[in-house]
Symmetry: D2
Subunit: 294 residues, 4 copies
Amino acid sequence: MDILKLIVDTDIGSDIDDALCLAYLLQQPQCEILGITTCSSEPEKRAEIVDSICQYVGREFPIFPGLGAPILGKQLQVAVHQYDVVEQFPHRKQFPSNQAIAFMKEMIEANPHEITLLPIGPLTNIGALFAAYPHLVPLVKEVSFMGGSFFDEAVAFMPVEWNIKNDPVAAKIVFDSGVPIRVAGLDVTLRLKIQCTDFINASCAKVLEPVVAYARKFLERTNDMYFHDPLVAAFLFEEDICSFKRGFVHTDIGCDWGRTYFTEDVNGNVLVADKIDPDCFFRHYYEVIDKQEA
Amino acid sequence: MDILKLIVDTDIGSDIDDALCLAYLLQQPQCEILGITTCSSEPEKRAEIVDSICQYVGREFPIFPGLGAPILGKQLQVAVHQYDVVEQFPHRKQFPSNQAIAFMKEMIEANPHEITLLPIGPLTNIGALFAAYPHLVPLVKEVSFMGGSFFDEAVAFMPVEWNIKNDPVAAKIVFDSGVPIRVAGLDVTLRLKIQCTDFINASCAKVLEPVVAYARKFLERTNDMYFHDPLVAAFLFEEDICSFKRGFVHTDIGCDWGRTYFTEDVNGNVLVADKIDPDCFFRHYYEVIDKQEA
Amino acid sequence: MDILKLIVDTDIGSDIDDALCLAYLLQQPQCEILGITTCSSEPEKRAEIVDSICQYVGREFPIFPGLGAPILGKQLQVAVHQYDVVEQFPHRKQFPSNQAIAFMKEMIEANPHEITLLPIGPLTNIGALFAAYPHLVPLVKEVSFMGGSFFDEAVAFMPVEWNIKNDPVAAKIVFDSGVPIRVAGLDVTLRLKIQCTDFINASCAKVLEPVVAYARKFLERTNDMYFHDPLVAAFLFEEDICSFKRGFVHTDIGCDWGRTYFTEDVNGNVLVADKIDPDCFFRHYYEVIDKQEA
Amino acid sequence: MDILKLIVDTDIGSDIDDALCLAYLLQQPQCEILGITTCSSEPEKRAEIVDSICQYVGREFPIFPGLGAPILGKQLQVAVHQYDVVEQFPHRKQFPSNQAIAFMKEMIEANPHEITLLPIGPLTNIGALFAAYPHLVPLVKEVSFMGGSFFDEAVAFMPVEWNIKNDPVAAKIVFDSGVPIRVAGLDVTLRLKIQCTDFINASCAKVLEPVVAYARKFLERTNDMYFHDPLVAAFLFEEDICSFKRGFVHTDIGCDWGRTYFTEDVNGNVLVADKIDPDCFFRHYYEVIDKQEA
């Protein structure tokens, strides 16, 4: 059984799916988390939230608050709603400052061709990493993330997807770098929807307990709970969840700021999820979560 | 046999394929040409060239020089090379000024839902028409044109296609208008290539005689002769030439000025040619050209 | 005393300043209004409002509802709030459809170098006019309008100005056309602020009576009343109100969609208001309004 | 006498003015060069050229080849013409790889508020530095560079300036960062022109000897020699050369890719050179060059 080396980059604390993804990864035996970086506004608060979930199941990782504003453009995601809950759980409050980029650089150089980057927020940290250190691009095994929307009515009629919209220049740097990418767009992840209340009531795995607390906070805003981010972790380990098309992705940094366009091409560097089996996903997700409880 | 009502809009005089397209239409019995407008630089010279070909086979149409510069951006196509040859053929030298847009407007209003616009140059005239008279959009039967590139390596590695690059804002107005469009991109039309010398030596149809003269002038620049424009006329009459995909086209008017992106969508207003049968095309082209000689 | 020939193009019915401007022009003896066109959403409703004010003082003009959506991009101004009030005043309800552009074209061709265009809303109609009929550009005496923001903190920190934001492509067509322009940006017009309640209580000129009614409706939204649009009418007749700088204006149609940048240049086609004397403006405004009552 | 701590970032090897600037700095007693980084294509070759000039006058600095391609967009400057000459002079051929960004980071952190960055090529390295390490921005004393064009006909009619055009996204990152900037645009530096042959014949200062060799190579392309880059070094030490206006600079990354717009504003982070005294510049330049020979 191969072990996948991961660096997770998360804007946990706004939407709830980052916590769902982190919980999954903590129970996924086939991965080794080398470290976790945070992105978007107030990355220090988000680092605390990460640690609160990890400590709850007795895990500790290097955690680095990353870049708190997009490379270009306005910060659109200003609140870390779920931070109100973090004090319920023991966690570290101090993290190394301004070292997220350097940490990723060192890890990639020390593990050439072995690390999968798993950004599940705006692509600021990865974009800045590739801008400053383009020699790292061929040393990265893969970037797997949730972002954009690619197929059918998604492109023409849906609003611009949030992760890309929050830093389109970073996204363009990553897509244009040529690095191998596996991505799921909003058009696909929207199919992974459950009610937050159902999740709260059903969850009994230990790893999900702090997630449930954060979900109660999230519930103040909406009861619609999408598993955007867990998908791009899960499909690394269970290939039956999604099918993909290979091609190139163009990111608009002009008047359609943040919109993404996919062109199928056998030479493309991007695999875009085009079909998804939600049952397969949820079965796999809970299997991983629950099996580890034993 | 249905007769298709057409308005042809051409930048004849630069590349040779506009003349090839016009010759085809003059021999195509299933179409009625209501008038011909010209676009790109020095539209009056281009109008003369149009008339020289029409007169040669005894046809006369309303001809209107149209807009001589793109709606926004620089004029990139400045020379009308083939104009050097126009004096070899009788033709009118005076045309109504500044009436191309008004002519198209009147025709469309007088023939609602019946007119196919066939622009085979930059989309300036059609874009300006739709900008000034958006109420015409639902009255147009279809816009059929050559422009953009949509599939495979074309998008990632080829230069931006010339017709769109010469007026991206006009193209965006047309694509975004919702008007029914049938388009062939450069990735498809590049497959319709013959040697210009072969064409010159082989042609004996009367309608092609002035075209051969223009082709000799064209030969000073290159021997590669592409049937870009004839394709988007021919596929209106012979459906076996191309298959199409339905969707939306996004035109970049930012840093990728003029690049086009296609997204498949059952509700899209655009049919984009994706596969082509070159043999079928050339067989059909010469059948139409030659049959009428009889 | 020279008489200025004007075509007014207005999105009256949203903000209140269009009505203030129209009232002024109705009393300004030095101008001849050749006709009035409307722009932005539901231009027919706006045409009714125009006529209600004109009829109240016994004036009648050709009125043409113009383009109801921007040339490119989304319609942002969807409501015609003040239309709720229009039934209080006699007015025509039917206007010629789809003829605003053609009307402007005919007037300009019939009065070469004599007509000042006075757009006081998004520049859609003028932009479409110039796109379709660029030969008119050198026949226009001047375009005078309110739009953009140009100086000091306005550019860096203020939101994009509303008229330009509602149709940046139209604005770019107009600014780039080379037509002589006199423009006042938001940074200058913001200095012409009074309380709407003060205006309502003080106004007794007959021409202002329907404007007061529309202002009561406007008051439901805010009490801050800015004389944006009257300024660009008034400074055509009273040169002491503003000083200007000459140069070029660049309109961003990319990621800063609708933002404008001014560069001073002796060869520029644009005069941008840079300093304003609010006392001089209000004194002039009420002098014109009141004098005509006599 | 204050000593200015500098990091120079150069694309030496294409235009000749980088060498002119480096020669000046080597003789300028009021500066301490902490290190030199290179940018644009083939940065290793450019590092060799830097060292060849430094060694000639017995100086040695840390030299780091930097980023060889723009953050986004195509590499437009592909040739290092003057590299043909480098073998005439002793120089190092090996430099640390991929460490330019890290070097700048360390220096700035070790000398907070003391370092002036002097990029005299595309802004790639500085843009990437600020993207990856925005916490450094308030620690930089100033960025002084040549780039853009700002006043009069420069903006409307001149082509986009080369340094910005080669990496507009990097330029936008730097201008938008808020870092204190002093910049001279092409409109100003174009006034610093001499004939390359005159320079070659007149130069006798030891520091200029290798520069003369590079200038002979440069002469194969043109005899017009502009002192673009030396200006932005010289005006740091001699305040009479230029006057400046304070404001903000907007960099277009859309359809006017790389064009810059200046807005005067007392709160701006940018000082843009608006007037220049060429005599004062050349007098100062040669004084510095020659005085040190003694």
